[in-house]
Symmetry: C2
Subunit: 650 residues, 2 copies
């Protein structure tokens, strides 16, 4: 039950050019500094973050320097700072930067100063809860924030080799381990917002300390056991009601805490919580060798990707609780599809791939990465979507409460700013998603221009991947060093692929959707070509929303229609089944990504000026349809947007 | 600007047989007694009403007999009782009944006993508000309840000739008239929930007292003037926030009180309020001769029927505030389409028809009556829908907050029970919607089996209308008495009609959609035949929800699909444009209404077991489609229902 492959560590893969070169540079040069200003409340026209302000207050308080000021903002602000620290560590790993390292070290100084004598570390807890720490695990996020700080500490250690941050967090974990567990005097609690589980497993992998893995397993296995901890906690506090809408039944389903994970059949509740939890579950299941836990992880993953995943790689069908709803309910216009949830899906996918590379899993990871995740940021890196819909009707967003969360424009910052910091830590750790490997085989999941070194059974292997993907489908790989097996994912959307080894076409083995060849020691050049013809995507007819509709995809990129090209009322447009779809190089986007064009129709007003018409055949007028990649939508001013349009049987 | 025609009075038209005979009998024999029990808190398994209980308390309190008990339930309970009284009066007019009359008289005794010395009459006001009467016109419904009691009093007077109830209400109106107006010492307020305006006009029409019409005009014209009364009232009370969702901007749009009616361009806010207000507006505009008010009424009506009306005759696109949203936003699955709102649309339509008979207006009235209104009641008369959706997916109703208001089954009673009592008063006053007339011409708007007498310029005219409509389209009219002009609406859905006068086909005049003939004195027999072939209905493509979809209508009756006939996932079904639609007499409903059947398709799962599929043409499997009239849906157990299904261009 151990994992079949392992992830790369932070400095093992370099990504500097190609499609992702643009975004990595954007993250490193613009987004990380920009968000540093945000965390320091230094952005004009945006709500303040309070993150660093609060941390300084907590450090001062701990040192006996009380200014009389109080904590401001939501309770989970340490996590925003932690995600920035993790992103900044990724930046250091890719591009050493003394000034940035100094800023990080100063934050670490503050964290050390804010840490209480027994290892407790939480700004909100120290400033607001005081002796009431851990009083409300369900909602007050102390364990969640520790998880994010651990992830940051691990990344910083990998980037710099400095242990100080790790040491702080191991002291914090010791404090948590003393408070929680099944021994007398301990609380049998677990995080209201999962995250600590996966973070403990990262800490375990880097420190080798088995206590961390055991604590993670405790949190995973204790969750949802009777008596329900969150219910008990609520009774103790005299709290009357759950905060979530009364329609969520059973109430703790929102927290994946209504019953033990092993008994849960569907991936339910708050989507980010659900997928962080699933990520931790996969790690714990693999490490513990529990086939029951692994079956649980597989079952929940399958439920998610088979019945609850948007074609953009988004998850979460309702804004009520930012949550999953039920199977096959995937409304386009009111989708939540939170940026963080799609990022969490990428996290979970990579861990599933470590267990066993399967191309269908990597397809989901790629779908989320190139579409929902990337669409969340403006091309200049300074504005963000929290919600990533598949259909935007600005009139509805403005005038209809069920659509209020769907914004036609990205925003500078948020009162709850989990998403922008999550995106930069994803971009700055992108190298971790390209490959996984074991002693024999290197699996390439994503086609990203990169250079990497692997330590294998036969010795070191150097891989260089050169590609303009997804501008085109040509990938050239230079392997040097020891003999090894190389495996490449054949994407689910790809109808034809070829593999040339040192200039000769070869017919490789294929396993779980990965083509594989054995390479001898020394240099080998492999050319992969994936057919990038645009293709039509249809949806399982069990999903009512997309019946009779189609969307377009080219390579990993989904396309959409925008008001900027087509005018208003995009829902009037039809794409005939027999209409050829061509590349449109007149409208190329960063990374040399073409638009798509096709002959289509637009339903005309028709001859009768009344709302309902009898025995009237809709009149369709020929129009040219211009599709843009979903990841660039909303970069030309606010307006309508549509992913799924009507098909016209031909 | 006077009205072109007038409505009939309560005993002028008899309806005893045919399609509506069933429903009238249901209302008279079952629903009125059933609801009397509900108002007396005498229904098992249903929430208590408290209506009569509260009234008795108020009467006792006024007589100095205080039991110490307090008011229970929402503030507007007098209106439920008033609507029942109005319905019971209609029952008396049609079928004298000593026992029922005695019950009504006892309620009138209670009302007289509860009325305060200065004429104030409101159970909630007397028991809860005390000296704080009128403190919160926006929400506390004192004026609204007076309006309903006035309507009941007018109906009871018409039914029995007894003035006592009218006298009580004229004293109440005098109290209101003293409190509200533009004189020094008066409040410049108006009802938060319109209703009193139209009630005052009814009282004016039956008493001839011009003060009532002037007070109605004051309320209509004062509404929305600066400074906004509801804002001032809120400031006085120190209330911080509006009760409605913050998305409703400007906040008083919900009450149609954000600006003067003359400046309002669209019919906005709470749908029942909007349409009661429009009904009063039409009456006031006609009586006052104000062309500006009449243009306002026409503009708001046109906006409603052109952009905000469901094909079922439902109105109100969102449960948030039970309200209109914006033009062309007509979601099927989350429709509110409150029963009361559709009834209010019928009220407004008749008043518009009085101004000038136009068949398009009567079409809307008929659409609402035969579909949304009638669907609200179970065939046995004991259960009701408050919300009347066009698509039901029980999984969504159970598991998705935006659908919580959509019920797959009718309920026995409601905490807010405005709808059941509104339906019985509509059914028991149905005679008021068949004809309007003036001294020269009788206009028939609805084809309902009935007998009527009219006093015209040339003398009395007797009309007998015999028809099985809408079972078929044959209508036979016997006219006797004085010479007059007769006019019949040609329904908008009717592609062909014939008119035979005394056995000979005639080509009549047509004006505003009404065919018209001059009848000599003495007996004349006219046979009308309306083509009742089922027809396909399509929707303006400006409405995104219904693009590419079609629904079926036969005569005035809309049809739908149900899980009971088709199994689950109704959205998979397609109706080809070229598939003939036939009557299905094997499945006949009350009033001899056939089902409809057609050859159609169902989208199969297809060959790939994944959520998204590439380049796959949907596989359509032939199925027989069985449609049932919308008004009978939900009578065979809970399940899915669908009005608009996919068309398949042929």
């Amino acid at each position: 039950m151990m994992k079949n492959t392992q992830p790369v560590s932070l400095k093992q893969v370099k990504i500097e050019k190609g499609f992702w070169g643009y975004y990595r540079d954007l993250a490193f040069s613009s987004m990380i500094p920009h968000q540093w200003r945000a965390l320091n409340d230094d952005l004009s026209d945006a709500p303040p973050s309070y993150s660093l302000r609060n941390l300084r207050l907590a450090a001062d308080r701990n040192r006996g320097l009380s200014s009389g000021e109080t904590y401001q903002g939501p309770c989970f602000l340490d996590s925003d700072l932690a995600k920035w620290l993790e992103a900044a560590a990724g930046r250091l790993a890719a591009r050493p930067d003394e000034q940035l390292e100094k800023s990080i070290d100063e934050v670490i100084d503050l964290l050390a100063a804010a840490q209480e004598a027994d290892g407790y570390l939480n700004t909100f807890g120290s400033l607001v809860l005081g002796k009431n720490r851990w009083r409300n695990l369900r909602d007050e996020h102390e364990l969640y924030c520790s998880g994010h700080l651990i992830e940051a500490a691990v990344a910083y250690f990998e980037a710099t080799g400095k242990r100080r941050f790790i040491d702080i967090m191991e002291r914090n974990v010791a404090c948590i381990a003393e408070a929680f567990g099944r021994e007398p005097g301990q609380r049998r609690g677990y995080p209201g917002h999962p995250e600590l589980e996966l973070a403990l497993m990262r800490l375990f992998h880097v420190t080798g300390n088995p206590h961390h893995a055991r604590l993670a397993r405790y949190f995973i296995e204790e969750r949802g056991q009777q008596p329900l901890y969150f219910e008990e906690e609520k009774k103790r506090a005299g709290r009357e009601q759950a905060d979530w809408p009364p329609y969520i039944r059973p109430p703790l389903r929102q927290y994946q805490a209504h019953k033990p994970l092993k008994e849960q059949q569907t991936l339910d509740g708050h989507a980010v919580r659900a997928l962080y939890l699933l990520s931790g579950l996969v790690d714990v299941a693999a490490e513990s060798g529990s086939s029951e836990l692994m079956q649980t992880a597989e079952r929940l993953w399958d439920n998610c990707i088979r019945h609850r995943l948007y074609v953009t790689g988004g998850v979460g069908s309702t804004h009520h609780g930012e949550a999953f709803t039920f199977d096959n309910h995937l409304p386009n216009g009111t989708a939540y599809a939170e940026t963080c949830a799609s990022i969490a899906l990428v996290f979970a996918a990579r861990r599933m791939l470590e267990v066993q590379p399967r191309s269908a899993i990597a397809d989901v990871m790629e779908r989320a990465l190139y579409n929902n995740c990337l669409a969340s940021v403006q091309l200049d890196g300074t504005r963000f979507f929290y919600v990533n819909p598949l259909q935007v009707w600005p009139s509805a967003s403005q005038q209809e409460p069920d659509h209020w969360h769907v914004k036609p424009e990205r925003q500078k910052w948020f009162g709850c700013a989990c998403c922008p910091t999550n995106l930069i830590r994803l971009l700055s750790s992108l190298d971790r998603y390209v490959f996984t490997y074991n002693s024999q085989t290197i699996y390439q999941h994503l086609y990203i221009d990169s250079e990497a070194v692997f330590s294998m059974a036969n010795g070191l292997v150097q891989l260089t991947c050169r590609t303009r993907y997804p501008a085109d489908g040509a990938v050239t790989l230079h392997k040097d060093g020891a003999a090894c097996r190389l495996a490449w994912r054949v994407p689910g959307w790809c109808r034809q692929h070829t593999l040339m080894q040192d200039g000769r076409q070869v017919v490789p083995d294929i396993e779980n959707g990965y083509i594989q060849i054995d390479c001898p020691a020394g240099p080998v050049t492999v050319s992969l070509t994936f057919d990038m013809q645009p293709c039509r995507v249809t949806c399982d007819p069990a999903v009512p929303e997309n019946i009779g509709k189609v969307c377009l995809q080219r390579g990993p990129l989904l396309y959409c229609l925008e008001e900027a090209d087509q005018g208003r009322e995009l829902w009037r447009l039809y794409l005939p089944d027999n209409s050829p779809v061509d590349l449109d190089w007149h409208q190329a986007w960063p990374g040399d990504i073409p638009g798509l064009k096709a002959a289509g129709y637009r339903q005309a007003d028709g001859p009768v000026d009344s709302l309902y018409r009898f025995a009237e055949t809709p009149e369709l007028v020929p129009v040219r349809l211009n599709f843009v990649p979903y990841y660039v939508w909303g970069n030309r001013g606010p307006g309508e947007m549509l992913v799924w349009l009507h098909a016209l049987p031909g």
